[in-house]
Symmetry: C2
């Protein structure tokens, strides 16, 4: 058996502790799979005295993770600190400069600084591995980078944020409103005290940007992701969505066409009988479409100590076994420029909910505004007087551009009977084109 | 850029031709991904003169694939001949003896001779890769061998045969009987002229045995797979299954418990709202459960030129990029002995359909036979006089052993009112324990 692979772990939160547990529990099997042992030699975290439920006494302790990255007896540094700048980036770059591979679970870091890190790693002859950064319970980075490597991938669609998915599933089940479900999710530990990264779609956008780069061989374009979060989704929308045969999911959608690459994160309506619709709670799922393989679907837990640590250890085993990969499947310098397709070029159906004063002629005015914008409607519901005596009109359009939609809504902007800003949700056919 | 990876392809059926097409269409991208080109140098098939729609003029032609395996200018031989013995095995062993890696799509070969081949490959310092052998459109070999390598995998469940899945989907949709749907499937090219390998469950069992070995680190146990095929499933069973909330799928189920490893292939009833239920037509799907990762689900096309060639090329890209793996994740000599759990030890619910003469006391006799065998029933349907005036009684039991079931059925064997052998289908909770 060869020399052991020595690793140092920076960050001992739940994922760091989980990684220690996986490596300890399965040490023997992992050694057989790698042909060598994986040894933890050093760890670093904020508070040495904290009881984390694992025995750390055999490892060198560093208060300063950058110092550890520079000096520890380690072939690999596992970065589990988080954040796209600051210490996480410093640890990563110091590790690479010292000739050590980096394994990270940090999507913000990879999405925002991944190209620079990959370039530095290539120059130093080490690897940057980040399976744990996207959907820990699904080996989706490996699947796209290696499993689909013979394909031109045209589309990647995913439920990429477990917190959002949990909130949406719960809103639908309970009929409760966003704020109340979010508060419960925070109390239960399913959402952060500051939940904005998740519920505003930033976390999903980080993951989508990474998947898009891998899938399309294009430069990382996190800043080009069109992002909309959950805050405007109401309990009422679930009622109408269900009546129309849809569920509401926060999706990341990326595609490569002749016009370029689009990357979009937003809540949308999807067919309640179709793929992804049954992916509930904290689960993630990804659909990838390649020109030879066709459609493939991957589903698993999105986060949590076990799944994320499992992904970290998979990267470590690959390194130990000598299966090294380029971070984005091709040399960083060979990533193609990303020509971003703007959101205004999206064409697709929409769900539009209008709250109107129930008076004669309103319906005709709305129809007329949509007619002027050249929008044909697939279905219209008129429902319920709310407490204020207002009616809801819910329209499902045929496929139209965002520009046409805006034109129609502008035509209703000053209408005195329309008493609330329209609620607009895109409808996506995840199985179609 | 390094030297090209030279490959020779044995077998130019649809998958062989598909492999040539993938390598030609994406030659540039693949070279960037591998850091070197993948060059086809030689091919072998039966009929040189046949027009296959691809230009083979640049490749050396061999009438004898074994000769090619021995002498072609190739780092890798791609075996696409098929069969677990004979030429396919000869080509494989000759390639390894000549120091060449082997990539194959041949599940029969891997399931029945994989251990010997892997051992020879290890001795020769080459790799045996077979992503295309199981569910071509899903990188499931890589997912289990590498993506879940940090886990103890406890269970693998899959829809592993597209022909069976197509037949079952079509029977359910159309209400037609097995023989008629099979004939159509043959006419459409979805089933072979001799369909027994598929419909009797042998093909699924080959794949299950491979997945079980990979997942559990145990020796290949194809001969220990309990196999039942589709031939006894009738149109009527779909009617009752639907009424009870189930769909009928041919599943492969393998699990590792303290008692050993079970491997089972049979048609069974699964919750129509649950996972795998929506996997229709020619699609395959696999659920894998690991102790840290939890449940992960993979879905994609099971066969066909494109998906299978995509998998072959993924293996070639891994080899070209230097990402070599042990065939079964561990050295062949380290695979643990497989202690097979016999089918009689399965416990679970059953669906039992009895055709009886509609006369007083029959129902009581049946209840009594089940009571004597200590079987409690979850639900009973009594339906329809058929043309002969007989009634159907459909029983869903609680979880019982196969032994208890046999005892109950034995109690009814000589009953004059039971006019047909009972139709028994197992019920599986794919999401449960």
């Amino acid at each position: 058996m060869s020399n052991p692979l020595n690793i140092a772990i920076a960050g001992l939160g739940t994922v760091g502790v989980g990684t220690v547990q996986v490596l300890q529990k399965h040490a023997r099997e992992i050694a057989v799979r790698c042909g060598r042992e994986i040894n933890i030699t050093a760890v670093s975290s904020r508070d040495k005295s904290k009881d984390r439920g694992v025995d750390l006494s055999g490892f060198a302790w560093f208060d300063d993770p950058v110092e550890m990255a520079k000096t520890a007896k380690a072939d690999v540094v596992v970065e589990l600190i988080g954040g796209s700048t600051g210490v996480a980036l410093d640890v990563t770059m110091a590790s690479i400069a010292a000739g050590r591979h980096v394994v990270t679970a940090n999507k913000a870091l990879v999405a925002e600084a991944g190209e620079n890190i990959a370039r530095a790693a290539e120059d130093a002859g080490v690897t940057l591995a980040y399976e744990a950064a996207v959907a820990g319970g699904i080996p989706i980075i490996k699947a796209i980078r290696e499993g689909l490597a013979g394909n031109r991938v045209s589309r990647v669609i995913g439920i990429l944020n477990g917190t959002c998915n949990y909130i949406l599933s719960t809103m639908e089940e309970t009929g409760r409103d966003f704020d109340s479900v979010l508060k419960d999710a925070q109390d239960l530990g399913f959402a952060e005290a500051d939940p904005s990264f998740d519920i505003d779609g930033v976390d999903a956008a980080h993951k989508l940007a990474i998947l898009a780069s891998l899938a399309f061989g294009t430069r990382l374009g996190f800043k080009q992701v069109h992002i909309e979060g959950l805050r405007d989704i109401t309990a009422l929308d679930f009622v109408y969505a269900k009546e129309l045969g849809y569920r509401i999911k926060l999706l990341g959608l990326a595609g490569q066409t002749d016009a370029g690459v689009y990357q979009r994160v937003y809540p949308c309506l999807i067919d309640q009988e179709g793929p992804l619709a049954a992916v509930d709670g904290s689960f993630n799922a990804v659909i990838a479409e390649g020109d030879f393989v066709g459609r493939s679907v991957y589903e698993g837990r999105g986060a949590g100590a076990g799944p994320t640590a499992s992904a970290v250890v998979a990267d470590l085993i690959d390194i130990a076994a000598g299966r090294l990969s380029l971070a984005f499947g091709v040399p960083a310098a060979r990533l193609a420029d990303l020509k971003a397709i703007p959101i205004k070029d999206r064409a697709g159906p929409f769900y539009i909910r209008l709250t109107v004063i129930d008076q004669p002629g309103v319906f005709a005015d709305i129809s007329s505004a949509f007619g002027h914008a050249n929008i044909s409607m697939e279905s219209i519901l008129q429902r319920d007087h709310d407490e204020a005596g207002n009616a809801h009109i819910v329209i499902v359009t045929h496929s139209i551009t965002e520009g046409a939609l805006r034109l129609a809504l502008k035509g209703l902007e000053d209408h005195t009977a329309v008493v609330e800003a329209p609620h607009v949700i895109r409808i996506e056919d995840v199985w179609g084109e």
